[in-house]
């Protein structure tokens, strides 16, 4: 049961690694870095790589578990549970921490990128931009005012190039508009005059071409004033360009510059830098959050992996003794008692292992003792079985009937021969006690036991007769006391019955045969001379006697009696020296046909039916039996019926008369030789008939003693087979 349960629980949650692998793969894909990823993408790639590696590991673990046909070894479930518990113990707080951290980061970012900060920065930026645009606007206005002065282009045209006069004019403009520097370039872009805060006016001896900026060139080409912003090492400047015309002819390009205050520019640049940084961060708000998330996630994965490995290590250390114990238990269950579990440590598991070793040692001793006892018992049992087998075979093959009774008279053993011998029908209820022998014909058996019991004899033996129907069975009963009354092993009686009917009959026949032979020998010899002498007397002295009639009567009587004696002796002789039957297969019809012809003169003899079939017998002897029976029946001078009944096993010849019947005394002795109720009968007819029948392995019985009286001669069919075999041989 447990084994089947174990098999049912084999490879539990086999799908779990695939689910975990899929989850890890999904998280890995979700962690894929985007194109506008803020900051280094290394963390993203590391996260992706970690998740992919873990997913691959779990996938292969799943494949291995799926393909593995090996039964889960002992302790694996416990180990898995321990590892899972420890990983969960780490994973759950880590996840909670991750979620909390994410929330905190999100809130922090919300605070960081607050609308007020946003607005403030925008305003600051606008202020900075306003300062720069104001400076440019001032420059444009100044240039516009200079452009409206028509004398200045005339002055440039009329004055020779490089004279101080123009520079002085420029100095005035410098003072008027608060410029830091002003320069004048001719058509060929040569610097012809200049004024600055440091130098009020300057005279140029050599006129050099200066490289003008694109804005200046554009201004010159377009003929429009232009303002640009220049950032130099010294600071930031607003530079304005004004093309000067006289009568629509370009005469010079005025370049004026204002240096912006360093404090203001640095503040403005600082605002710009902060603004840029803020906007950049705002743009990458999601990315920043992802960085934190990925960092935490990587930390969580690494911590979980470390925790898993540590859990695996400790779980293995913890479950190894359990695994060894479980394996040892399996071996013990399989019958191996010489198993020893190694004791790894002096802890509870070590104590358990020690107890297990002690238990197996005791079990081994007990098993050895048990085996020894079992061997002894097996030997005894075999011996007992052998004895019982021999006894049973002996009893079943024994011709004698045996009954074993205990002290209370209960039957402990009764063989089949006993049942057959005592004519106990199988259909009746099984006899449990000797006192269940309630049938009338079994009364002598019960009496025999009672005699044995009441008289307290060690043994008893005498012949009993069982009268069953018209059959009398002579049985030699022997009883013996077994054991003493207080014998604990067994005490009771053993009753042995032997059928001595045939033996008695044989003895009787033997005795009669001897008598008959002696009588025949002693009487037969003088009878012939007596008869011859009497006949001689008759022939020789008949004429000489006075009273012939008397003489004749006497001599005839002597002769008649001698003849009668001779017949009687012949019968005796027949009884003594009855030949063995010469059996042959004879048709029943022909057998009866002969008899019918024989008794055709008798009107009161009826042969009913002439059945088909054969019977194996000596026809002369059988015919003699039937003649004896018919003659006896005819003596009653009543109608005589002769009929045959063929059954499956035998052929039964019935002779029935309607005489007065046969009394009990006659029934008892009628088959004995020299018993006759007729004055002239020899008393050997039925005795010879019975002897002939028995020689044929059949039986001659008085079926009905009362009127109508009926005799039955039963011849078994097995004789036919025997006869056929003999014929073949």
């Amino acid at each position: 049961m447990s084994e089947s349960l174990g098999k049912d629980r084999l490879k539990p949650l086999v799908w779990l690694p695939f689910v975990i692998a899929t989850l890890l793969l999904t998280v890995g894909v979700l962690s894929w870095p985007s194109h506008d990823q803020f900051g280094p993408v290394f963390l993203n790639w590391l996260t992706v790589l970690l998740f992919f590696i873990l997913a691959t590991v779990f996938f292969f673990v799943g494949i291995y578990r799926l393909k593995s046909t090996k039964e889960e070894y002992a302790g694996s479930y416990l180990r898995t549970k321990l590892v899972a518990a420890m990983v969960l113990m780490v994973l759950v707080p880590s996840l909670l921490l991750q979620l909390t951290a994410n929330q905190v980061i999100e809130k922090g970012l919300d605070v960081w990128f607050d609308v007020r900060v946003d607005t403030l920065l925008d305003k600051a930026m606008s202020l900075a931009q306003g300062f720069y645009s104001g400076a440019e606007s001032d420059m444009e206005k100044s240039l516009l005012q200079v452009a409206q002065d028509d004398d200045f282009p005339l002055e440039i045209v009329t004055q020779p190039l490089g004279t101080m006069l123009i520079s002085q004019h420029l100095g005035k403009l410098l003072e008027q508009y608060g410029w830091h520097k002003v320069e004048l370039f001719d058509v060929s872009e040569r610097l012809i005059a200049m004024a600055s805060k440091q130098v009020a006016g300057q005279q140029f001896s050599d006129l050099k071409i200066r490289d003008l900026s694109d804005t200046a060139k554009l201004s010159k080409v377009l003929g429009k004033q232009a303002v640009e912003h220049e950032v130099r090492k010294s600071g930031e400047y607003v530079v304005g360009y004004l093309p000067l015309y006289m009568q629509q002819r370009f005469v010079a390009l005025l370049r004026a510059e204002i240096r912006l205050p360093d404090e203001v520019t640095s503040s403005a640049r600082s605002i710009e830098a902060d603004y840029k940084s803020y906007r950049e961060l705002e743009r990458h708000r999601q990315g920043i959050q992802e960085i934190f998330t990925h960092t935490l996630m990587i930390a969580m994965v690494i911590i979980t992996c470390i925790a898993g490995l540590l859990a695996l290590f400790f779980a293995r250390k913890l479950t190894t003794p359990i695994e060894e114990l479980a394996l040892a238990l399996k071996r013990v269950e399989a019958g191996e008692f010489d198993v020893l579990v190694p004791v790894h440590a002096e802890d509870e598991l070590g104590s358990l292992a020690r107890s297990f070793n002690s238990m197996t040692a005791k079990l081994r001793q007990n098993m050895e003792m048990l085996q020894q006892t079992q061997e002894e018992l097996t030997g005894a049992l075999v011996s007992s079985r052998q004895r019982q087998y021999v006894l049973e075979n002996l009893l079943s093959n024994l011709q004698s009937g045996v009954i074993l009774l205990d002290q209370s008279g209960d039957i402990r053993l009764m063989n089949q021969a006993c049942q057959d011998l005592l004519l106990i029908p199988e259909s009746t209820e099984k006899k449990v006690s000797i006192f269940d022998f309630s049938e009338a014909h079994l009364a002598p058996v019960l009496n025999f036991f009672r005699t044995l019991k009441t008289q307290g004899l060690d043994s008893l033996q005498y012949e009993i007769e069982l009268l069953h129907g018209f059959q009398t069975i002579k049985i030699l009963a022997r009883g013996t006391v077994l054991g003493k009354q207080d014998d604990q092993l067994f005490s009771g009686w053993l009753l042995v019955f032997d059928d001595v009917t045939q033996l008695a009959e044989a003895q009787k026949h033997q005795a009669w045969s001897e008598v008959a032979q002696r009588l025949a020998h002693e009487i037969k010899n003088p009878l012939t001379p007596i008869k011859l002498s009497t006949e001689r007397l008759q022939r020789r002295f008949r004429s000489q006697v006075d009273h012939v009639e008397i003489f004749d009567t006497c001599t005839k009587a002597v002769i008649t009696q001698v003849e009668r004696l001779q017949r009687l002796l012949a019968d005796f002789s027949n009884l003594a020296t009855l030949p063995k039957p010469k059996t042959e297969v004879v048709s029943i019809r022909s057998l009866l046909q002969d008899l019918r012809e024989l008794y055709s003169a008798y009107q009161n003899v009826t042969f009913e039916g002439l059945p088909d079939g054969d019977v194996c017998c000596d026809p002369d002897q059988v015919r003699q039996v039937l003649i004896n029976l018919i003659d006896n029946a005819l003596a009653t001078k009543t109608p005589v019926r002769v009929y045959v009944e063929v059954t499956e096993n035998d052929t039964k010849f019935y002779v029935q008369d309607e005489g007065p019947g046969i009394d009990e005394k006659t029934q008892k002795h009628m088959f004995e030789p020299y018993f006759s109720t007729k004055s002239d009968g020899s008393g050997l007819g039925l005795a010879i008939a019975q002897r002939i029948t028995e020689e044929h392995d059949g039986s001659l019985m008085l079926v009905s003693a009362a009127s109508p009286t009926r005799f039955c001669m039963c011849l078994p069919h097995k004789l036919i087979l025997r006869g056929l075999e003999e014929k073949k041989a």
Binding site: F18, H35, D36, P40, V41, W45, M125, A128, Q129, F131, Y132, S133, D214, H229, A268, R269, I271, E272, Y275, K276, R279, E280, E282, R283
Partner: protein, 185 residues
């Protein structure tokens, strides 16, 4: 398990195809030949908002347009015949509301006060000379593969990994050489 795997693969390919179709609609690449030189006009639309946002917020942007001329080879990887990488950069100056536009290939610098001009300077590449026809074999088939790399800042690189995988595919244009066109006619 196999069915799930096949299903996931199909799903991946479906997404890839959808993304490819979307990308195709958000870009425009033309090739024309003038005086024996192959020029390429290329423009991307789906990067405009991003570029505009970055430039308006004051961050510098550097882009590189990479044009690869490849020769088709049956049964093998296509061979790169020529490769040209053109860079452009915009550096905003928020306080003065100017955007400096620099062509990294030529070094030409100029300013604009319109952020959209700066944006188009980065998202468009007109008349880019890619390769001289003379180096191409008439008997072979060629195509031009264009990729756009966008980097925030003035550095122009995010590391070798991003340089390899961070490009935005601008499509592939089949090259029809003048003689081949005549032959076809």
């Amino acid at each position: 398990m196999l069915r799930v795997f096949i299903y996931l693969l199909c799903l991946c390919f479906t997404f890839t195809q959808l993304e490819a179709n979307e990308n195709q609609m958000n870009k425009e690449t033309h090739v024309h030949i003038e005086d024996g030189v192959i020029y390429c006009d290329v423009q991307t639309f789906n990067q405009e908002a991003y570029v505009l946002n970055v430039l308006a917020s004051g961050s510098s942007l550097t882009v590189f347009w990479q044009f690869d001329v490849l020769r088709k080879r049956p049964f093998w990887l296509d061979k790169s015949v020529a490769s040209i990488r053109l860079g452009r950069q915009v550096i905003p100056d928020l306080v003065t509301k100017r955007w400096l536009m620099r062509d990294l290939s030529s070094g030409v610098v100029h300013y604009t006060r319109n952020v959209h001009v700066a944006m188009r300077f980065l998202t468009e590449m007109q008349h880019a000379a890619v390769v001289d026809v003379s180096i191409l074999d008439e008997q072979e088939k060629y195509y031009i593969e264009t990729q756009l790399y966008i980097y925030e800042g003035e550095q122009g690189s995010k590391g070798w990994l991003a340089d390899i995988f961070g490009g935005v595919d601008m499509g592939v244009v089949e090259l029809v050489l003048p003689t081949q066109g005549l032959k076809d006619e």
